[in-house]
Amino acid sequence: MERRSLALKVGTPVAVLIAWEVISRTGIISPVLLPPPSKVFAVFVEMPGQIAVNAATSLYRVAVGYSIAAVSGVTLGVLMGAYKDVETALDLLVEIIRPIPPIAWIPMAIVWFGIGDASAFFIIFIGAFFPILLSTRAGVKHVDRIYIEAALNLGADDKALIRHVLLPAALPEILTGLRTGLGVGWMCVVAAEMIAAKSGLGYMIIEAQRVLATDQVIAGMLTIGVLGLLMDRGFRALEKRLLAWM
């Protein structure tokens, strides 16, 4: 069973690669429109430095924009979940801003922050912030009353209640929000770099597309996919450790 599932898991992508190579090599689809995977992988050998530098740039931008979103999203989420007044005061605002796609903010980001890191930070922040905020708020609201009452009964004040009860009890949902936010942030950096930056993986693929270097475009896309997967896997491992008590 173990071997069978492994074969299925790896077999499908390998089959897709082979079919893709054949379709491209035989010219069923022009290699310019669809470069064969062998050519795409060659890009990683030919220009590893360029890919690494652009990947590092994108990762750095996500790290900054996402950190700001994580801190502010969790903080506001806890306050909205814990205090009815804060929720009432912010709810409508959140509901109006939340449906605006992060990409729709790019024009204003360029006006406010220009082309470069700051615009990317902002777009990533917008994208990551809402999933984090909403999951945190929901998590805090779902905390079983019995734990809150037990903590109050044992002498907890508001600060202790948040630190010792609301945050840890809501942690499963907070982590889900943080993981979703990371994924959205990673998508946003690519979009932001296509329009509002002159470096990074998003910039790299849009530039390659201008000179029809489709092999580089796909190599860039694969890099984005693999890095996204690694981040998600890393985050899940972290979740497992933090939620050992569950």
């Binding site: 009452e149 009964n153 044992l154 002498g155 840890p168 569950m246």
Partner: protein, 246 residues
Amino acid sequence: MEPVLEVKNLVKSYDDLLVLDHVSFDVHEGEFLAVVGPSGCGKTTLLRIIAGLEDYDEGEVLLRGEPIEGPGPDRAMVFQEYAVFPWKTVLENVMFAPLMRGLDPEEAERIARKYLKVVPGLEGFEDEYPKKLSGGMRQRVAIARALAAEPEILLMDEPFAAVDAQTRNRMQEELLKIWKETEKTILLVTHNVEEAVFLADRVMVLSNRPAKVVDVVDIDLPRPRDRTDPEFVRIRARILETLGAL
């Protein structure tokens, strides 16, 4: 001597439903008072009001002569459900109240370890999370956690309702040992008449909604009590009869 707890003419209603109808009683230093009554009669509400977790319409609740204000560790409670914090280890749960008192972690741990010794069966489980423990063990943790608050009076809301009969009997004996050792004043609510007669110095019988005090029975039997002793059986029958006539 001044009673530890005085409840005077306590009245509580939910909307139009009168739950507590002028309930008055005292609990004296070191006394073990059990409150029995039909399920849903308002016993738990009474305990929650004393704990400061619910407000009341009329009357007075005095702890050592002072009116209670909100929840507090001087009236630490063992809840009906398993209210131990699942995200904290056994030791961390028991350290909670000492930490909330503002003690530094070393001192809090020292107090916690002291009460982990007072409650039988917890030694060796200090670093486990509650999910690894049986229901009975979790309730032992809840008792140790409440004791570590070093309350003036220990409130217990059907603490053994969710454990099997055998464990329940054993835990009742353990509770008596703890009571003797710590000389705590205990107010226990139960619907189990046998439990009340086995444990308490006095048993207060409440009527069905609205709850009124209909009888207070002194239990002068020596401990450990024999549940098959004729006098035990007679007292139990008397209380059951009072309840049955309601």
